[in-house]
């Protein structure tokens, strides 16, 4: 069985770090592609992916005519562009980084110091199948290092473009390393999009460490092409008093999964992970989070909202673990989904696993349609039903975007979200 797992036959021992990658391959082989048979993938199947016949990205183009609209953000910042998982300096803009903030491509890093790279890369691989697969095929990615106390003055915009060669699908496995030394501050925005009509598989792993007192704001716009499969795993380690603010906006892709696993390894940590997913057609969007409160006195907050139209399907799985002795943990999670169509579906599994008594932990989940009352109220003020409907759907969605604390990025994300909302018609399933 395991030998049949897709991609295994594409493994190349000739590429750099063969031992590390062979280890990843073995773990991936043993597990195979994940699917509903395992609890963590209960509601998401990658069957359609296996039918695509994807090629490794090795020979695929790494050039672009222009950045696609879907990836653009009206935000002043540094930029690092990746095409099919490979760093493209020509489209990037990394001049003027403050002293103590270094951006490098992973490929360059491996070439420069393979031993250090190998050591750094080993950490994130927790043996989950797709992270292992990523290890097996990793070649490039972004390496961001911010030294102690250094503040990255502008957001770093990481653009990832899938560009399958004509008529052929492609798979790529970027690995990003983000390291914030104590008291460093940085904002990283990712946007994911594609060009061309064929399918592709972006299997990204972001390995993030936020040391004592450091702050990372990490925003993701998933606006992949219609035929794309997008799986992004964030592996996050937070030291004492670290602060992480994550947000993911899903608009594109045929199938998308954003998976965050955060380990809170110190006290006074503030970990926020929020998201909005806008799903239509036959899209499938999965948000899976795991917050591991391994130390006392930290706080985590999660808000995920989804709007599901047509035959769209949304999944939210959120697990909060409070380990023994992680007293005074304060963890809250809320998942809210709006179903707009008779064929839409939402599946949720918010999960609390608590082993300490002096804690405040809660979660909430709702699934439903628009309330009739506000609808009626707006109409009674003379607003036509279609407008009222759009206003209310937008109000529902925008509340999630308000969680983004950087105004320029919130506005840029809102622009993309509004473009999607404008395409919705009233009356779907209401």
């Amino acid at each position: 069985m395991a030998g049949d797992a897709p991609f295994v036959d594409q493994f190349s021992a000739a590429a750099p770090l063969p031992a590390l990658r062979a280890g990843g391959l073995a773990r991936y082989r043993a597990a195979g592609l994940p699917g509903p048979a395992i609890e963590a993938w209960k509601y998401t199947s990658l069957d359609a992916l296996t039918k695509l016949g994807l090629l490794p990205a090795g020979g695929a183009p790494t050039t672009l005519e222009a950045l696609p609209e879907a990836a653009l953000l009206a935000v002043d910042g540094y930029r690092a562009v990746f095409v099919n998982g490979r760093f493209v300096p020509a489209f990037s803009a990394l001049d003027g980084l403050p002293k103590g903030a270094v951006v490098e491509s992973l490929a360059a890093h491996i070439a420069r110091d393979p031993a250090a790279a190998e050591a750094a890369l080993a950490g994130a691989d927790d043996g989950t199948p797709l992270v292992a697969l990523n290890t097996a095929f990793l070649t490039d990615g972004l390496v961001l290092t911010v030294d102690r106390g250094v503040v990255l003055d502008k957001p770093l915009h990481l653009v990832s473009i899938g560009r399958p060669p004509d008529g052929q699908g492609v798979a790529f496995h970027p690995r990003h390393l983000i390291r914030l030394a104590p008291d460093a501050v940085a904002t990283v925005v990712e946007s994911h999009a594609g060009v061309g009509g064929a399918g592709y598989f972006a299997n990204t792993v972001a390995d993030i460490r936020v040391e004592d007192g450091a702050t990372l704001r990490h925003y993701v716009l998933q606006n992949q092409a219609a035929e794309a499969f997008h799986v992004a795993a964030v592996r996050l380690a937070l030291a004492a008093r670290a602060s992480y603010e994550g947000f993911v906006l899903h608009i594109g892709a045929r199938l998308a999964r954003h998976e965050l696993a955060a380990t809170i390894a110190g006290d006074g940590v503030d970990c926020r992970m929020n998201g909005l997913y806008l799903v239509a057609g036959s899209q499938h969007v999965d948000n899976t989070t795991f917050i591991d409160h391994a130390q006392p006195g930290s706080r985590s907050r999660q808000l995920f909202k989804g709007v599901l139209d047509d035959s769209g399907r949304g999944v939210f799985q959120g697990r909060v673990l409070v380990r023994p002795h992680a007293q005074k943990t304060d963890a809250h999670q809320l998942s809210r989904a709006l179903l707009l169509s008779r064929k839409a579906e939402m599946d949720g599994k918010p999960e609390l696993e608590i082993y300490a008594d002096d804690v405040r932990c809660s979660h909430g989940a709702t699934i439903g349609s628009l309330d009739q009352e506000p609808m009626f109220y707006l109409m009674s003020r003379g607003i036509d039903p279609a407008t009222a409907y759009r206003m209310l759907v937008e109000a529902f969605a925008v509340e999630a975007l308000d969680e983004i604390s950087v105004a320029a990025i919130r506005d840029a994300f809102a622009t993309h979200a509004q473009a999607w909302l404008a395409t919705r018609r009233a009356g779907g399933g209401a």
């Binding site: 839409a344 918010p350 008594d357 932990c361 809660s362």
Partner: protein, 484 residues
């Protein structure tokens, strides 16, 4: 229950008959050898003089069971079960059991005292070998008459197989198919006792069923099978269990309960489960692996489960409702208390199929000592469940920092007009609350009991009055020694 006396008589008469299967055991004892095999299944069926179709059903279940994996998804840990090291039919009387109350663990007796268990019942509960003639026999007969007048059938499942085969054939296994899960499958193969209730059309059952018979029921725990059918427009409230901790030589309990509510019918099923939980270190104790499910088949039908689970080393049960009929209602009210090394993985499933179906889940988990307490639930709204509603509230209370409390809800909706709401919280008894109570003169244990009862109030108030009072006491007793 009332019928257990009848059952014994019936069994006696059956076993007195010439035995048509060539089973090797000495026929004039009531005992089958240890272990599980097709022969044992046949033996049980023969002893009960069951019709062919039922034997065939049992065998089908048995064969299926052999190949079935153990459920592994729940949050409980225990060594693998040795199915061959158990009796499946009338285990011999334990020779090492206590001979009199003097030999019974004084802790247990103390508990009976606290719960106010009448003296006459204590020996029985503690497993002392007595040939008691129950006071309740006469009581039982009186009530039986009253039920008969109304056309209510309330008897043992074995008796029902003989007297009402058409109902058994039609409904048994229709809610919990034999292949549902490993434990239910085993039950289907080897069930030996349990109750059968049929409430005819339009009848409101004149009394809470089984209240008066709970002592008799004490010995029928292992592979119980209960089937309750509420015909159109009828109502019944069924009580199961007992607040006093019950000893049982059998470690594995795998009961199956099936409820069927037809148009406009209502079934209220209340359980107080207090099987032996094992000692402080978790030695001994019952594995309570129960499959309970109700089908709201008819329009406007209603099934309400209330459970107070304080006993057993391991509790694994998910009383569920399949809401087929339009406007049908499912409710689940649960208090699960785990202390010392107990483990509970319990919750419900609400499957919304019909239009305007409604469900409500209130779960209160209390964990103390080194126990683990998990709420696991599923709310599923199917595409045709227009206007369906679910509300779920799961609260966990932790007492001490070495226990665990977990909430694992699955929420699936495929209808935009449906509304599903789920909330869960985790908290502890605050020092301030405890101190406030003690300042008013309550002892530490009284204070804990009071606060815990307050925490569980929404559930306890759904219990029939008499049960509720007992359950309140029970909560206090179950948590003794957990604070301070």
């Amino acid at each position: 229950m009332a019928s257990s006396i009848d059952t014994r008589e019936r069994l006696q008469s059956v076993t007195d008959q010439a035995y048509k299967y060539g089973f090797v055991t000495d026929i004039d004892t009531d005992v089958a050898p240890k272990g599980l095999s097709e022969d044992i299944v046949r033996f049980i069926s023969a002893r009960k003089a069951e019709p062919e179709w039922l034997l065939a059903w049992r065998l089908k279940a048995y064969r299926h069971w052999l190949a079935m994996p153990e459920p592994i998804w729940s949050h409980v840990k225990f060594p693998a079960l040795d199915y061959q090291d158990a009796y499946y039919y009338s285990a011999p009387k334990a020779t090492d059991g206590p001979k009199s109350l003097d030999e019974v663990d004084p802790k247990l007796l103390e508990t009976y005292e606290k719960l106010g268990v009448p003296l006459g019942e204590r020996a029985l509960l503690a497993g002392v070998a007595v040939d008691a003639v129950f006071d309740s026999v006469s009581v039982a007969t009186t009530f039986k008459k009253k039920l008969e007048e109304k056309g209510v059938i309330f008897c043992s499942i074995s008796e029902a197989v003989q007297k009402h085969p058409e109902l058994i054939k039609k409904y048994m296994g229709s809610v919990v198919p034999y292949a549902d899960n490993k434990h239910a499958c085993l039950n289907s193969a080897v069930f030996t006792d349990g109750s059968f209730v049929y409430i005819p059309k339009g009848v409101r059952c004149p009394m809470e069923l089984s209240t008066y018979f709970r002592i008799n029921a004490a010995k029928t725990g292992q592979f119980e099978r209960t089937l309750i059918i509420a015909d159109a427009g009828s109502y019944v409230s069924y009580l199961e269990g007992c607040t006093a901790p019950m000893r049982d030589e059998n470690q594995l309990h795998a009961a199956v309960v099936e409820l069927i509510a037809l148009d406009d019918a209502e079934i209220k099923y209340s359980t107080v489960q207090n099987w032996y939980p094992g000692d402080v270190e978790g030695r001994g104790g019952i594995y309570n692996f129960v499959t309970k499910r109700g089908a709201c088949r008819g329009r406007n039908s209603k099934i309400a489960w209330t459970q107070v689970e304080t006993g057993s080393a391991i509790t694994w049960k998910y009383p569920s409702c399949i809401l087929q009929g339009d406007n049908s209602v499912g409710e689940f009210y649960s208090v699960a208390v785990t202390n010392n090394r107990q483990q509970a993985d319990t919750g419900t499933k609400m499957i919304h199929i019909g239009r305007n179906t409604r469900s409500r889940i209130i779960s209160k988990g209390i964990s103390a000592g080194r126990a683990d307490n998990t709420y696991r639930g599923l709310v599923r709204i199917l595409p045709k469940a227009e206007g369906a509603r679910n509300y779920t509230q799961c609260d966990s209370l932790l007492i001490g920092d070495r226990c665990g409390a977990h909430t694992v809800p699955y929420i699936e909706s495929r209808n935009p007009s449906a509304r599903v709401e789920h909330e869960a919280t985790t908290s502890k008894i605050s020092e301030d609350q405890l101190f406030y109570c003690r300042q008013r003169g309550l002892s530490q244990e009284e204070a804990v009991s009071l606060i815990v009862n307050g925490f569980c109030k929404e559930v306890l108030q759904t219990l029939p009055m008499e049960f509720a009072v007992e359950a309140q006491k029970l909560l206090g007793v179950s948590l003794e020694g957990s604070v301070g």
